[in-house]
Amino acid sequence: MSDGQHDPGREGELIVPSLPLGDAEGPVRKAAQRLRWFVRAFEAQVATTADETGHVYRIDTDRLSAAFAGWLQNFNLQKPSAVEERPAYVGFAAGLMLRELIAADPVSVDARGPSVGKDTPAGYWPEGYVYVTFCLNVRGLVLQKDYNAHQSPSDDVRDVRTWWSFRENVAEDGALALAFLDLFAGVEPDWTTPALFSKRAFGTLTKRYFVSIDDHSSDSGDPG
């Protein structure tokens, strides 16, 4: 089953793969905390991106599992106990995953797609492109399925100049992956302390993570 949010084929456009929806009985965010779901979803993303770009990718399962283990540890460290903060934590958790994937670097390129130019995100950084699109797609899937919300990725995700800055900055400070993922997801990034969930004001959170919610929802202010 495809959860496509965009038309496929536009260069740099997010292509949503057929991500597994997890157990029928439980929410996607719970399934996403299982290594088997994570690996299958990641493999689906790689296959979809390979189809889109013509790149031939190779996945190192050990490194992928290491990324998951690191993510799980950090996910549990800052998981909020307040139920109303959980939707906001979805975006933060996706950023944590991007940081771990970039650090573990489980994907390599055996051959580059002949028609993907280096002036596009997918051509400039093929591995990073997989990591970002995977994290954005999982983030969007969880928000949609579990919280009836959706994300609207910004134009920055298609701008190779933003990707130049992205790659250079995360090489120096991996925590900036969280801020850049927020940027790509169309929400206001925290460039100061991106890796600290507790530092984020809740009012800002509702604005950041429900940017596309319907007008009748009461998410615009501090819920108190």
Partner: protein
């Protein structure tokens, strides 16, 4: 003291599989030794030994290296958690362990294997009424004490630091696999073990720490099994 005695048929089948695994190891060692002295030793020696092993592999024990059957996996999982403590279930778990040892050694470049016979004896001898991850931890530690997995299973011989670490990884990964949610096919179960092994290898330092204490080990197994 063994609380349950395996039926007579088992007493033949398990030692034969253990012997075959051991013989393969001997062949590997012999082949390595033969290389530098090939000019001295008669070629017929190497040829006849290889031929004998080829015949043994084509016998009724030819499934030695196949992935475990789905029914075995389910049965072994129930044995590990204490839902089913029958001898046949202990044997199923021993076959799972042998498969796990083979895959772990292959993935880590280690040189060790499991003895189904030692595993059956060690696990059946376990007393106490613990269940779930607690019992799983007890079984892991019992197998460790019995050297059910090692360079020469049943003895501490050649248990170097690398092999000891590999053994800890093998035991933990096997238990983690059994405690994790089941899959409907053998192929998917094998994939789950592969992931359990990858996760365990990533956390091998932590696994070694947990392996010093039964409660810590149980906590680690219980927590991680929900995420495999």
């Amino acid at each position: 003291m063994i609380g349950k005695t395996p039926p007579p048929g088992t007493l033949v089948a398990i030692p034969l599989r253990d012997a075959l695994r051991g013989a393969e190891r001997v062949w590997d060692v012999t082949e390595e030794l033969l290389e530098p002295v090939a000019a001295i030793l008669p070629p017929a020696l190497a040829t006849s030994l290889k031929s004998a092993l080829d015949q043994a592999e084509r016998s009724a024990l030819a499934g030695l290296h196949d992935p475990p059957a789905h029914a075995d996996i389910a049965r072994a999982a129930h044995f590990l958690t204490g839902e089913d403590t029958a001898v046949a279930s202990a044997e199923a778990f021993a076959r799972i362990l042998a498969y796990a040892a083979e895959r772990t050694a292959a993935s880590t470049g280690g040189s060790f294997l499991a003895s189904e016979g030692v595993a059956v004896s060690a696990t059946l001898a376990l007393s106490g009424g613990r269940t779930g991850a607690d019992r799983a931890a007890d079984i892991v530690l019992a197998l460790r004490r019995a050297f059910a997995v090692g360079s020469v299973p049943g003895t501490p011989i050649r248990l170097t630091a690398d092999v000891a670490r590999g053994v800890d990884v093998c035991l933990f990964a096997a238990a983690l696999w059994m405690l994790a949610a089941r899959e409907p096919t053998e192929e998917k179960e094998v994939e789950v073990f592969r992931l359990a092994l990858a996760l365990t290898r990533t956390l091998s330092d932590q696994v070694s720490e947990w392996s010093k204490d039964s409660d810590a080990l149980a906590h680690g197994l219980r927590d991680l099994s929900e995420h495999v």
